[in-house]
Structure formats: structure tokens, C-alpha cells
Amino acid sequence: MAILRAFLVLLLAQLVGEALHRALHLPLPGPVLGMALLAAVLLLRRREPDEALVTTSNGLLRWLGLLFVPAGAGVVANLPLLRSAWLPIVVALVVSTVLTASVTALVMQALQRRGERVVMEPLKETQP
């Protein structure tokens, strides 16, 4: 019952996201708007999200990798393109990924040194 209600919350958030995406021609995809909306609501309530919502989300996210397979398999339909453009693909993937990770890590470390370091409490149960 509680799990079903939590699933309904996720579906409704996505539905509102899709509606906003279409009505306002927003550049963000519906599910992303739904995620932002749900995060905003949860933060504004200033309470921990209820247990069923955490359980249901963790359940979905634990098998997230499986949900990518139908879309990811679309690569077989694009094999000729991948074969003909392997050079830009390999260069962009490797170099851009190294750059992104380096810039993020260096900026974070530099800014934290200048200001106050992040004080972290030990996490409770945020990991799926």
C-alpha cells in the first residue's frame, strides 16, 4: 500500500514534469523536471522523505542499469556510424572525460582550501 502510494508519487511528479515541459516549452525533459519538482517539495517540507518513498526509489535505482538496456541496445542500429566515426568518438570520450573529472576535482579542492572545509556528519542511510 505505502509502496504503491510512493510509486504513484513518482509517476505523478513525472506527469506534472511532462505537462510543464509541453505547456511551457521548457528545454528540460519531463522526468528531469519531475525530479527537480520532487526534490524542491521534499526540501521545502524540511522533513526526511518518508520511508516508503526511500524504499521504492532505492528499489528502482538499484536496477537502474537494467533499464538502460533497451535504449543502449540501439547502438546495434548505429554500428555503421560508430565504425565510420570511431576517431572523433574515442578522442572526445577519453579527453573530455579526463578534462571534466580534473576540472571538477581541482576547482573543488582549491575552493575548499581557501574557505572553510566541508564539515560532514556521518551518513545515515542514504546509500541504496
Partner: protein
């Protein structure tokens, strides 16, 4: 006939889930980042389509159920994000600055490198969201004129790359801060890379979780603007 209507989705769903579980088993056995369950399942499905000459569209229509769940799963990313935000309030300014820097670097360098190496604009647009978590990457790719399934594969590959090389890269750059480690993993390699820093402790895990959500939102907002800027190149 009603019975034949149900056989194809049943078989293809079972095959896909079984292939994924083989991937999970292989990853646990070998502990090699390249043995990624999603990647292994895609290879299995690719082989099936190749052997049976089944068109990709037929396969996709039959496993639509799994694809549909990506929507609510994307919404569900809000929960780990909110739970970890509680722990990050004090580091908010450095975190947001680092995320913005990583987001712009990732999107701009991905597009520019593809174009510099002779790739088409459509290929470059498909590469642009490669640092994002797959459901967001596919949505962004679709919105800016890329090929969503290509972006999904690029994103999964980028995640595996980060998981494999982040430790040596950070050693080279002399980055020791656990928050910076988590943030770099989540921003450059989303979920797959985040999974690789979870064993390092709660701080990298929390920052990786926030990075996935916030980078997804930032890039999804900026991508259409960047695509319009790039339209003349």
C-alpha cells in the same frame, strides 16, 4: 492469436533480464569495471539481434516496459539527492562552483573535440550529454537534436572510463580531498563512476550523488543554449 502475442515480449524480457544478471554475476566474480552489467546485457542483446535478424525496433517495442520505468527512476534520483544535500549545506558554494565548471567543461569539450576530429554536428550533439546519468542524457540528446541511443552508449562508456582511471588521475593531480573525489566521479561519470567511489566512504558517496543530480539539471538547462551557440559550427 492471443498466445503468440505474448510470447515475444515474454522471451525478450526474460532474455534481457537474464543477460543483465549474468553481467551482475560476472562483475561480482571478476571485480573488473569493464565487466559492467549494462554493457554485457547490451552485447548479449546485440548478438541476439544479429543472429535472428530481428530489427531493433521490434526488440525495443517488446521490452518497452523496462524503458518506461526509466521515467519514474529518473524522478527517483531526487531522493538520494535530497538525502545527501542535508549533509552538504556548508560546502554549498565550492560544490556548486566546481559542478558548474565541470558541467561546462564536459559539454563544451565533448562537442568541440568531435567537431575538431571531423565528426558531424549530430554526432557532436549526441556526445554533448555523455557525462550525465543515462535517462537525463537521452532526454537532453533528444531535445537538442542528437541520437538518444548513441548518447546512452557514450554515457555508459564515459562512466566506465571514470571508474577505471579516476584513482590514478587524482593521484597525478594531487587531489586527496574526499569531497572533490566524489564530486569528480559523479560529474564526469554519473552512476557507474559513483558506484566505484561508494566503497571509499560516506563523503565521496554523498558528493557523487549530489553531482549526478545537479550536473544533470545544470547540463539539461545549458545544453539547448550551447546547441544554439554551436549551430554555426
Amino acid at each position: 492469436m492471443i498466445s503468440t502475442l505474448h510470447v515475444e515480449p515474454l522471451f525478450l524480457l526474460s532474455y534481457t533480464i537474464a543477460a543483465y544478471l549474468i553481467g551482475v554475476w560476472l562483475q561480482r566474480r571478476t571485480k573488473v569495471a569493464l565487466a559492467n552489467p549494462t554493457l554485457i546485457a547490451i552485447v548479449f542483446v546485440g548478438l541476439l539481434l544479429w543472429v535472428t535478424h530481428m530489427p531493433y525496433a521490434t526488440y525495443f517495442a517488446n521490452v518497452q516496459l523496462l524503458h518506461f520505468l526509466l521515467g519514474p527512476a529518473t524522478v527517483a534520483l531526487a531522493i538520494p539527492m535530497v538525502l545527501s544535500l542535508e549533509h552538504l549545506r556548508r560546502g554549498l558554494v565550492p560544490t556548486l562552483a566546481a559542478l558548474l565548471a565541470g558541467c561546462v567543461t564536459g559539454a563544451v569539450s565533448a562537442y568541440a573535440l568531435v567537431r575538431l576530429c571531423g565528426g558531424t554536428p549530430q554526432l557532436a550533439l549526441s556526445m554533448l550529454p555523455k557525462s550525465l546519468t543515462t535517462p537525463i542524457a537521452m532526454g537532453v540528446s533528444d531535445a537538442i537534436g542528437g541520437i538518444p541511443s548513441l548518447s546512452a552508449v557514450f554515457g555508459i562508456t564515459a562512466g566506465i572510463l571514470v571508474a577505471v582511471m579516476l584513482p590514478s588521475l587524482l593521484r597525478l593531480l594531487r587531489v586527496t580531498d574526499p569531497a572533490a573525489t566524489g564530486l569528480a566521479a559523479g560529474t564526469a561519470g554519473s552512476g557507474i563512476a559513483a558506484a566505484s567511489v561508494i566503497p571509499l566512504g560516506p563523503i565521496p558517496a554523498a558528493f557523487a550523488g549530489v553531482a549526478i543530480g545537479v550536473n544533470g539539471l545544470l547540463t539539461a538547462t545549458l545544453a539547448p543554449l550551447l546547441a544554439r551557440l554551436f549551430a554555426h559550427w
